[in-house]
């Protein structure tokens, strides 16, 4: 899975939503957020970490947010740091809002009903 730059990721994300609309590849677009310290962990380290996790979580290290997106077989991911966070969030929300247009709008329904009357 390719780890992309934030801007590149956003472009690709928009692309995924476009493809989803066209109906090619899979049906759904999945967008996942997960906090990550990006440290490679072996199994042993994981077992240890579980015990120490509570202490770790209390420390205010700089964490980054791992964001993944998937549509069909295409998977992309990026890492968002605290610095980029607001920028990414705004862009991401804009993209999501722009592309999720298959959802029902109440206003339209009401207008239609009024028009029928």
């Amino acid at each position: 899975m390719a780890v992309l730059e934030v801007n590149r990721f956003l472009t690709e994300l928009a692309g995924l939503y476009e493809k989803c609309k066209e109906g090619t590849a899979g049906k759904a677009v999945t967008l996942t957020m997960k906090r990550s310290d990006l440290k490679p962990r072996t199994r042993r380290a994981k077992a240890k970490a579980k015990v120490e996790d509570r202490d770790k979580e209390n420390s205010d290290d700089e964490y980054s947010c791992l964001v993944r997106a998937k549509h069909g077989k295409r998977k992309i991911s990026t890492v968002v740091s605290a610095k980029d966070h607001l920028y990414f969030l705004n862009a991401c929300n804009t993209i999501c809002k722009a592309h999720m247009d298959a959802l029902k709008r109440r206003d339209k329904k009401k207008k239609k009903k009024k028009a029928k009357k």
Binding site: T30, M33, R35, D53, V80, N93, R105
Partner: protein, 94 residues
């Protein structure tokens, strides 16, 4: 477990603040069916919210804001000190 919005948002925020390293948050969108599913899980508990209403997009934005803020800045993040996402993007549209 399926919830209504208020419960879901509350549970989601609680979970991510409690176990920030183990919690993941997923937005799944099916265009063909016009449905959106939000999911929060830490591999022990799992909460979902399903919708087909466009009005829920605004709520989703808000939750996105909370989740990503906690995930990038730690659980003690003060949400009010951060810029609200609603103000800028309209002006900043390229």
């Amino acid at each position: 477990m399926l919830l209504d919005w208020d419960d879901f948002a509350a549970k989601a925020e609680e979970l991510v603040r409690e176990k920030p390293l183990h919690t993941r948050y997923t937005v799944k969108y099916k265009h063909s069916e016009g449905k959106m599913t939000l999911k929060v899980t830490d591999n022990e508990e799992c909460w979902t919210y399903k919708t087909n209403q466009a009005s829920d997009l605004k709520k989703m934005e808000k939750l996105n804001h909370i989740m990503s803020a906690v995930m990038t800045r730690g659980r003690s993040v003060d949400l009010d000190s951060l810029e609200e996402p609603s103000g800028e993007p309209k002006r900043g549209k390229r």
